[in-house]
């Protein structure tokens, strides 16, 4: 047993970079998937809509912890492959991000009036160009505040990676807490670090909402 020192604080801060890595992985793989889901959900083809809806309902009907456990413990045993914590957590966070961002972006796309699609079609644009040049810019404006808000959920969600042994901020907190026997102090500091990382995003989302929706 030792007392909490500056070195412990620095180890917590350096674990924050792994939280950042997880967020980047989730966004990097999840965002394109989310766009695909949003387009599928707004598609005219029933089969596409239903596939995307089923995926969303399942992922959003299961705890993130469940996704993590399933990909970390379940899949490797079933498929007979080794999976590093980073890969397992990366897959779970990607699926989670895709489903929530997909819904947010679908909301943005549907909020654009249907006449806009028709007007763009009248100009002779292809379906992709209608989306790319007419719908997407307007949908982006409306979806931006909740997208930033979701980033906060995502940062908080990465804390669950600690449960499968991935050493990010929350896990580093557990390790330091176990070494110093000062759980209250350590977890308060960990909470403060998360708070410092999330609050600016929350405030940004709020100001975006006031600005972008107020202008309409």
């Amino acid at each position: 047993m030792r007392s909490f020192s500056l070195a412990d604080f620095l180890s917590l801060l350096s674990a924050l970079q792994w939280t950042g890595v997880l967020v980047l992985i989730a966004l990097g793989f999840g965002a394109p998937l989310a766009l695909a889901l949003a387009l599928m959900r707004t598609s005219a083809r029933r089969a596409l809509r239903w596939t995307a809806t089923a995926f969303l309902q399942i992922v959003q009907g299961v705890p993130l912890l469940g996704l993590l456990m399933f990909f970390y413990f379940g899949m490797p045993v079933f498929l007979g492959v080794e999976m590093s914590p980073l890969v397992a957590v990366g897959i779970a966070m990607t699926v989670y991000t895709a489903s929530f961002l997909g819904e947010i972006w679908r909301g943005g796309i549907e909020a654009v009036k249907h006449e806009q699609w028709e007007a763009a079609a009248c100009l002779g644009l292809s379906t992709w160009h209608q989306f790319r040049y007419v719908i997407a810019p307007q949908a982006f404006r409306m979806a931006l505040p909740p997208t930033v808000g979701f980033l906060v959920q995502l940062i908080k969600g990465t804390s669950l990676a600690s449960i499968v042994g991935f050493v990010e901020l929350a896990r580093a907190g557990q390790l330091v807490s176990a070494a110093t026997f000062q759980p209250l102090l350590v977890y308060s500091i960990v909470a403060a670090i998360y708070f410092a990382a999330c609050l600016p995003l929350t405030l940004w989302a709020r100001s975006l909402e006031a600005r972008l929706n107020g202008a309409r």
């Binding site: 309902q57 399942i58 959003q60 009907g61 299961v62 705890p63 993130l64 912890l65 469940g66 996704l67 456990m69 399933f70 413990f73 379940g74 899949m75 045993v77 079933f78 498929l79 007979g80 906060v152 908080k156 969600g157 804390s159 669950l160 600690s162 449960i163 929350a170 907190g173 759980p183 209250l184 977890y187 308060s188 960990v190 909470a191 998360y194 708070f195 999330c198 609050l199 929350t202």
Partner: protein, 222 residues
């Protein structure tokens, strides 16, 4: 690749049912605590003295910008420090109640803010008492506008109770870990656990949609 074997899980039927009931109980207790905090918090933020308003704002932002897992740990380690001896389940109920309360405060506040002041004035002009204005003018539309956000937050709370397993509260996810260590059927165990959560969430979603249609004619059609 290994073959699926759900047979072994059948022996743990009782534990699974028990875990599911504990998850439901934890969700309901946290929802009751949180809703009470939410209503009181929203009322205080709208019309309380300034220090109270600031304190509630601080609480809401603190909860909304930190992971629930860390909140659970903090509550779990704080309570014994104040001489409060309690089990993991009680600590989880308090932590999740505080978590739900913060989101509820925002939801209720937004619902009350959505009612134009002119409607309240119109009610007063008709000679209604303060209570009558609240009961007949403010409450019905507020409940209606709060309902969708409240129900989806409730579903998130239900899913969030899975974190309580990390402080050894014996809910559904904890049961999953228990069965896994005895059977080594990780894939089947987590598939079944996730399946139960999914079934619970779907049942609540259908129930909420039915109640919404009956009570509020929601979703609102224009």
């Amino acid at each position: 690749m290994q073959t699926l074997n759900f047979q072994q899980l059948l022996r743990y039927q009782d534990q699974l049912i028990d875990g599911t009931l504990h998850t439901l109980l934890l969700t309901l207790v946290a929802a009751v605590i949180g809703t009470a905090i939410g209503v009181a918090g929203a009322a205080a933020v709208r019309s309380g003295p300034r220090p109270v308003r600031w304190a509630i704002r601080g609480y809401v932002e603190l909860i909304r910008n930190t992971p629930s897992l860390i909140q659970l740990f903090v509550v779990f380690f704080v309570l014994p420090g104040f001489g409060l001896r309690m089990g993991a389940f009680e600590a989880a109920a308090i932590a999740l109640g505080l978590y739900f309360g913060a989101y509820c405060t925002e939801i209720v506040r937004a619902g009350l803010d959505a009612i134009p002041g002119s409607q309240v004035e119109a009610g007063q002009c008709l000679g209604l008492t303060r209570w009558q204005v609240f009961r007949h003018v403010v409450l019905p539309p507020a409940l209606r506008s709060v309902y969708p956000a409240f129900t989806s937050q409730f579903v998130l709370l239900l899913l969030g109770t899975s974190l309580a397993s990390q402080i050894s509260a014996e809910e559904l996810f904890h049961t999953g870990g228990f069965i896994e260590t005895r059977t080594y059927r990780s894939f089947e165990v987590y598939a079944v656990i996730c399946g139960i959560y999914f079934a619970l969430v779907m049942s609540f979603k259908l129930l909420f949609a039915a109640v919404g249609r009956l009570a509020f004619r929601w979703p609102v059609r224009r």
